[in-house]
């Protein structure tokens, strides 16, 4: 896709127009052919395409954020078990019945954490965008 990038004269920020007529008059825009509108960056001195490394790092951060959101969503569904066990412990009650009762759920939580760590490591270890995109966040 074609993108017309320019620096906003008042805000001094990067703006990317997807239509040439969207560029304000008397503003010099730079035309880019990109796959993603987010591939352009203003580094404080110039408008340019992001490097592969920059794109990879950015996508890693987004993917890690996404992983964290999904993990938190999943694991929070069984947080009530932890609350119950901890409450029993504070009241000096026997927690073994609870551990027995919820053993399967507690095991699932461990597996979830393990899977989260695996995915997190995989994301951090990815060296290309293709490798990163191939990581499906499925917990």
């Amino acid at each position: 896709m074609k993108v017309y990038a320019y620096i906003h004269p008042q805000l001094n920020i990067l703006c990317c127009a997807v239509l040439p007529e969207a560029v304000p008059k008397n503003i010099q825009a730079i035309e880019f052919e990109v796959e993603d509108i987010n591939d352009i960056i203003y580094d404080g001195t110039q408008i340019r395409l992001k490097t592969v490394e920059e794109k990879l790092n950015e996508r890693k951060q987004e993917k890690l954020q996404q992983l964290k959101q999904i993990f938190a969503s999943k694991i929070s569904q069984t947080d009530y078990i932890i609350t119950k066990i901890e409450e029993a412990r504070l009241l000096n009650q026997d927690i073994q019945p609870l551990l027995d009762r919820y053993s399967e759920k507690l095991q699932e939580r461990q597996q979830l954490r393990q899977r989260y760590e695996e995915l997190k490591q995989a994301i951090q270890n990815a060296t290309t965008l293709e490798e990163l995109d191939a990581i499906a966040i499925e917990l």
């Binding site: 993603d36 959101q69 499906a136």
Partner: protein
């Protein structure tokens, strides 16, 4: 007809004419016929009546000829006589201006031996239209007592009448027609065809009590494009409807009006310009997006005001069943946030307030739902075009969009 050689004014007639020349009205009252035989030494000027009047005939028409004479028309008919007679004498009578009850023999004519016989109606019915001329000199006020009970028209009368009538009909002007004279009930159904009305003949000023707004129970015609015009100036409706405008493939911005709905189809693209001009800060839009196909998962939806991204100028909050996010973005942003499960169909409804520079989105797709709210923090940049929708991460999208201007 008997051979009358001409009318001779009687002495009384001459006196009457003299009065008429000084301004009195000369009123002819009737014509009479008789069979009297005048002695050979009779001076016609001395007569004050016919010798033997047999029939009195009303005048049916009078015409001042212009050469000092007047033409009197009467109908010779035998319907009122019991026995036939020779028409030897003819008298023209006029009203005495000094005594309207008196009648004066104004002029006479005598046929003598060259009389004609008029039979009784039992023998044969006779009707002749006869013109008789007599002198009026330069009298100004000449009239006649015209009978309205006997009227026979000559061919000449009919021709004149026809010409006169045609002339009248062909030249009727608006001011000759009385107000209210032509009512709807007087006009036959389908009598006035389009061909009978000249181009531009019917102007608005000629149409009293006519409005563009149809009366109740009137069927509204389609316009020249075959479209029913439901604009507020034409049809007032209690039903809230949207007039659809197809902006698929539009190349310039269209100013969507309140009550209009833009329709846009898109196929296999990463961004779709909405082509909606924003005329006022008070505008409020609803955008409905149905994405029927996504090339890959994880669709992040953006609305780019003015078809442009502005780095970190948008505060975006998103709430999903997977969690919440709170970030600065470069456009109005929405994410289902279900990872790679953002699959089609993806249905999204977005409310956009130009005045508050904010957007609220509700969406569902894949295996999740979410809501989000975004605010464009920069108020210095005018919002002149509603913008483009775009995918955040280069997904190709297919589907359709409905944009309604609500305010």
């Amino acid at each position: 007809m008997a051979n009358f050689t001409g009318t001779i004014l009687t002495r009384a007639g001459r006196n009457l004419l003299a009065k008429a020349q000084t301004g009195a009205t000369l009123t002819f009252t009737r014509v009479a016929l008789g069979d009297g035989i005048l002695p050979s030494n009779t001076n016609l000027e001395d007569l004050v009546s016919l010798v033997s009047e047999k029939v009195s005939l009303p005048i049916t028409r009078i015409e001042v000829v212009g050469d000092g004479t007047v033409r009197l028309r009467f109908v010779l008919t035998n319907e009122s006589i019991e026995t036939g007679f020779f028409i030897r004498e003819l008298g023209i009578f006029a009203q005495d201006p000094d005594n309207p009850n008196n009648e004066i023999l104004y002029a006479v004519s005598y046929a003598g031996e060259e009389a004609d016989f008029i039979p009784s109606p039992q023998v044969i019915r006779v009707e002749h239209v006869i013109d008789v001329y007599t002198v009026i000199s330069n009298a100004q006020n000449v009239t006649a007592v015209i009978s309205d009970t006997t009227a026979l028209a000559t061919q000449r009368d009919l021709t004149e009448l026809a010409n006169s009538f045609n002339n009248l009909i062909n030249n009727i002007s608006t001011d000759q027609i009385q107000d209210g004279a032509i009512t709807t009930s007087k006009i036959a159904d389908f009598a006035i065809t389009t061909e009978k009305i000249a181009d531009s003949a019917v102007t608005l000023s000629k149409l009293a009590n006519v409005s563009y707004t149809p009366a109740p129970n009137v069927i509204v015609p389609l316009n020249a494009e075959g479209i029913l015009d439901l604009s507020a100036t034409y049809v007032k409706s209690n039903v809230y409807t949207f007039r659809r405008v197809n902006l698929t493939g539009a190349t310039s911005d269209y100013e969507l009006q309140v009550g209009e709905e833009a329709y846009i189809e898109f196929s296999n693209v990463t961004s779709v310009p909405l082509r909606i001009a924003v005329p006022l800060v008070t505008c409020f839009y609803q955008i409905l997006v149905v994405i029927t196909h996504i090339s890959v998962g994880n669709l992040d939806y953006m609305l780019l005001p003015n078809n442009t991204t502005y780095s970190d100028q948008f505060s975006c909050w998103c709430m999903t069943i997977s969690g919440n996010s709170d970030r600065l973005r470069s456009a109005f942003f929405h994410d289902l946030y279900s990872g790679s499960a953002d699959v089609s169909p993806y249905i999204l409804t977005q409310f956009v307030s130009i005045g508050t520079r904010s957007s609220f989105v509700m969406a569902g797709g894949g295996n999740t739902v979410s809501v989000s709210y975004s605010v464009w923090n920069n108020t210095a940049t005018p919002w002149i075009s509603l913008g483009s929708i775009a995918s955040y991460s280069n997904q190709n999208l297919s589907g359709y969009i409905l944009i309604r201007r609500l305010r």
